[in-house]
Symmetry: C2
Subunit: 408 residues, 2 copies
């Protein structure tokens, strides 16, 4: 939680943290500035003393949302430093930061965060370290201060995450109504003019319904059919006509523009009817989903439930990534991931990485799936769930799991 | 241009470049992978030898769009390296990359690109440099290989940028029709039910029209009125009712989801009528806009036209950022910026930074403006223009500049 940041800094012996970036891409900056829209900002957070936010004069009003002291870059204009450095932009930036850090007592062990070009970050931080003797640049691996703070959501965040969950399921409901309002003819779902409805038309409808709710798709969505559903990140081919009796994976993971929080939910369904063989595959995934959802709980590491998922699928005879990390068929990904201001964040429900126990405040996706593109199918079912203070689960993805969507 | 990359590498004595990131945020990766949607990818580009793209197995089909050899992370699974490194994630990543680099002859002076957390990039690249003796990590300042390559657009890119320009102006036309279809009553623009139309309702309409054209707002838009228009990055307050006779700044800068290219255009207008004093301010900005548009040309550095803009505004009696870098009223920003796969890229039409001449292939915004929030107004007019091969200008923002939008 946000309130953990000072103690996480103490644990890491960090005297200050500095976040530099924009709020469109740097979710750590969003976290600290509470929804302010900023294009180039620096948040200084000394362990002792008050946080300060540097922004462009153009964004001085946007910055007020952060609720901390706001200062302007133009107070230390880069142009002045450029004269000193004979036009060396990097040296000018270092000199500017040196003065800003000195004014706010940012020294000692300082951690740096925010998204920047890799090479630029390396060069800038190397030069900072070399130029400011009283500064030790700390580059954190994973997990860093923010990974750990953001991993547990506070009550305010949970309320925002419930809201984006509700809005997202409303979009799914609208899309299902839209599909159901069409007629099946032969193998296809057809429009009023008798022509097949295409995946592209459904995608356009999805985008409109998202826009109506102020949800944005920073990572797109997946609406894929048949063999394409068998390739997990295949987003679906727009030109493809919708067919009856084929598995369709609809995986949607929008961000609420107002709060910055994501939701993640997947339904797999068949238009009109499900052929017996494929219905069995769907039931297999649903059964694993139900068993994992019944078992998952605080106190156990996420990896336990990845292993459980693999074990269940293997008992059904499917290959899994646990016994063969290179398999491209069967169960080929991890069970889930944290969801918050990033669509993928801590904790991970996987065998790789940290194996700390699930705990109250964690919000994770649970998404078992099976993929056999050469057999023309894939199935995934996913909800996003929150572990509440008493350890109980609140499902943020309140939407039915129907296998077949009837059509006219 | 993309075809300049090998010679830019030679100029910088780079033996290889490595781009690591996702295509949602790392525009350099989008540039190389030509619209493939990838969540975690690494593009290896040895100066000698063929490029290789590493992706997750889940995205192996998305990766085909890049048109280069595709390899899977699972061929060198991180889990295997984690066992070797006793769970040290960073050391495992370094070991994995070491093997991948060795296989593809990535050694010598290697530049790294793509958006990552600053501190993580610093740590990972420091550790890479320390662990691989035959590798020299090069962190480029600005401009880097990509800044320079992307600064000039080729014919294919210009066609994509014309397309997003057309779609964007269609959105503005729809918004203006929507506003004009309302009645003025007293000071307000009102809906059929007699209640004032709010900025929030207009914003919702804008989002729908963008979604209809597959345009996304990765950075939002600005629709601000009166004193808010006087604060350049104030996006506009949704709860505010629309008033007649007030300057409204409508600045829209969406990205075409299909191609990744941005457009940037601003109109300032008054609903119903413009009071004389404010009309004069609008005319002042329009006059500067027209003069700069008539003067701007290849062969001169962008800074020349920033200075020209300042001189013109100062001759009219307005303060400017050229003579007072800390002014918060008058002309307080730069004249424009390159537009492409990022909304702000090279070249800059500003006094800060590189002063190389404008040249064919450059696509820039031209956006003079005046801001006096305490007097309740701001005005900005902006088009995005391309310099064609013969040096002539193609205006990508084909939309009229009417000062007053009539209402019913």
């Amino acid at each position: 939680m946000r309130s953990d940041i000072p103690s996480l800094m103490t644990q890491r012996q960090l005297d200050a943290i500095v976040v530099y970036g924009d709020t469109d891409t740097s979710s750590d900056l969003v976290y600290l500035t509470r929804g302010a829209h900023l294009e180039r900002a620096m948040y200084l957070y000394p362990r002792q003393g008050d946080p300060v936010l540097y922004v462009s004069a153009l964004e001085r009003e946007n910055a007020l949302a952060a609720g901390v002291q706001v200062r302007l870059w133009s107070e230390q204009p880069l142009q002045r430093y450029l004269q000193e450095t004979q036009g060396d932009m990097l040296a000018a930036r270092v000199a500017q930061w040196r003065d800003i850090f000195a004014e706010h007592g940012v020294q000692g062990r300082v951690g740096f965060y925010g998204l920047q070009d890799m090479g630029y970050a390396y060069r800038l931080l190397s030069q900072l370290a070399a130029s400011i003797p009283e500064l030790t640049v700390v580059g954190e691996g994973s997990p860093n201060v923010f990974t750990q703070a953001r991993e547990t959501k506070d009550a305010e965040e949970l309320a925002m995450m419930q809201a984006v969950g509700r809005a997202t399921t409303q979009v799914i409901a609208q899309v299902f109504d839209f599909l159901s309002s069409h007629h099946g003819r032969g193998d296809y779902l057809v429009r009023a003019d008798g022509q097949p409805l295409s995946i592209g038309e459904v995608k356009a409808f999805i985008r409109l319904e998202l826009a109506r709710r102020n949800l944005e798709e920073t990572h797109g969505h997946i609406f894929s059919q048949g063999r394409d559903a068998g390739v997990p990140h295949n987003a679906g081919r727009p030109e493809m006509p919708l067919r009856l009796g084929q598995p369709i994976i609809f995986d949607i993971f929008p961000r609420d523009r107002a709060t910055g929080y994501f939701h993640d939910i997947t339904r797999t369904f068949f238009l009109g009817y499900a052929p017996d063989a494929l219905a069995q595959k769907w039931e297999d995934v649903k059964q694993v989903f139900d068993q994992v959802m019944a078992a998952i709980r605080v106190g156990e590491p996420g990896g336990t439930f990845q292993q459980m998922t693999c074990d269940l699928f293997e008992a059904m005879g499917y290959p899994t990534v646990c016994s063969d990390p290179q398999t491209t068929v069967g169960y080929i990904h991890s069970l889930g991931h944290g969801v918050g201001l990033d669509i993928h964040e801590a904790p991970r429900l996987s065998t790789v990485g940290r194996q700390t126990p699930l705990r109250p405040g964690h919000v994770v996706s649970v998404e078992p799936g099976l993929y056999f593109p050469d057999q023309g199918w894939g199935v995934r079912i996913e909800d996003t769930i929150a572990f509440q203070e008493d350890g109980s689960i609140r499902n943020l993805s309140q939407f039915p799991y129907d296998m077949v969507l009837p059509v006219k």
